[in-house]
């Protein structure tokens, strides 16, 4: 078993304690709700889009440290990106947390702190929930997202 600190990195603990971009977003263009029924994580992601670019994003909800920090770091990571960039980043992040053989991926920046999740298969859903929810918002899919 890998070291616990590989999973609970200081950046993750910090974003869990003080999540960035947390709270409702007035006049959001897109939003979606996500739910991880297994552990009770609940998220709402709301996005403002300006000429195809994410101009603002916020999230609300509750959950474990991994899901909260993932949502927080995601909001930081995608502000200013195009909707196409968001979809590409989703794929990269998905590979990061699920693929044991994935090579280092510079495009993810700070998000690489979640690489440790791949050694804890039961926690992948926690890390990916915010991203699935964001994707549903971007695709304007109003059905609540569930990781089950």
């Amino acid at each position: 078993m890998s070291d616990l600190r590989d999973l609970y990195q200081e950046v993750i603990l910090d974003h869990n304690r003080s999540p960035r971009n947390f709270g409702p977003l007035e006049d959001a263009d897109l939003h979606a709700d996500g739910h991880n029924p297994l552990c009770g994580d609940k998220l709402r992601v709301a996005v403002k889009v300006d000429a195809g670019i994410v101009s603002d994003i916020r999230f609300e909800g509750s959950g474990c440290a991994i899901s909260q920090a993932s949502a927080s770091l995601m909001t930081e990571g995608i502000k200013g990106k195009t909707l196409d960039d968001v979809r590409t980043l989703f794929d990269h992040f998905h590979r990061l947390v699920t693929d044991q053989t994935a090579p280092p991926d510079d495009s993810l920046g700070k998000l690489t702190v979640f690489a440790g999740v791949r050694d804890y298969p039961a926690r992948v859903k926690c890390a990916i929930l915010a991203w699935h929810t964001l994707l549903a918002a971007v695709d304007d899919n109003q059905d609540p997202v569930s990781t089950e």
Partner: protein, 416 residues
Amino acid sequence: MAHTDPTVTDRTFDIGRIRELFPILAQRVGDKPLAYLDNAATTQKPRPVLEALSRYYASENANIHRGVYALSQRATDAYEGARGKVARFLNAAEPAEIIFTRNATEGINLVAQTFGRQQVGDGDEVVISTMEHHSNIVPWQMLCEEKGARLRVVPITDSGELMLDELASLLGPRTKLLSIVHMSNSLGTINPVRRVVELAHAQGVPVLVDGSQAAYHMPVDVQALGCDFYVVTGHKLYGPTGIGALYGRRELLDAMPPYQGGGDMISSVTFERTTYNEVPHKFEAGTPHIAGAIGLGAAVDFIAGVGFDAITAHERPLLQYATAALETVPGLRLIGTASDKASILSFVLDGVHAHDIGTIVDTEGVAIRTGHHCTQPVMERFGVPATARASLAMYSTTMEIDQLVAALTKVREVFG
């Protein structure tokens, strides 16, 4: 840290010898000894159960009933013998009152789909409680939706006890069934089932009791409880998965329509008309889990051999020890503090989600469950998204509790 507690040691009960009978317990998780504290989800299997399964497949396997050859007769005798063992274990009046099912969930669904569909109609009511497992909620919701009936829910107190006055006031002429858990899987509460049955029967309401958790912690006597149905699941009785049992009073079972159609549940079949077999076979269509039933028979024999006096004498002080030990953990709050409870410690830790607790204690070799435990209404009642739950069995030790408490210190180290 103290690893032995004299109050837990009992002369009639040698914990070392008991643990040796469960081969899985000796393993390590990484470099730590396994502390298996997820018994409310499933218990481990002792050698007599493993040997019964292996012996059946190695020397007795044949399909049961109607075989004229010796091997089939032996398999039939073993299967029906297991039914007799379960009947004795629950003190049913006769083996025919025991129907083998896949698990407790199937037992409840069987009653909902046969007795329920026959007895519950438009405007009728089914009563359950807030502390039910989803398996004792959803089958009744489905039935009520189909029939235009109403599901009523008995509330619970802040300590997790059933509100008996409220229960009594919910029972009335429209109530067609009360379905209630004997011991809560997320709170540990033991419900006063005998009293509940008295209240229900006074209104002419039959009672189903979900004994999934109770049956491996305390003796169950269905005739003394007076209940009409009682369900258990084998894998929580130190037996195999995929096998459970439904007890039903003979006169109710006789009057109920069959559950599934198929072989074994019939007396004769023509394209014009089929007549159904007698109980219990009427409710056991198709080739059953023969090995599972035999394994369950071995499991209840094993429990009876150890004896509930010894099991209770071990588990009760261990629960007190664990409760006291967990109460020393800063920021820990126990959920479920009923005065009559057994072997379950559900808790939350300030500032740390249950799922994070589960992952971190796992790295210390401690297996506990985290989440809603298939009791989302209980989580809502207590205003928590999830709890961490340690649950005990006859082989649990004070050392494992100490290992859990030490692992919770590690959680604090990580989260600060």
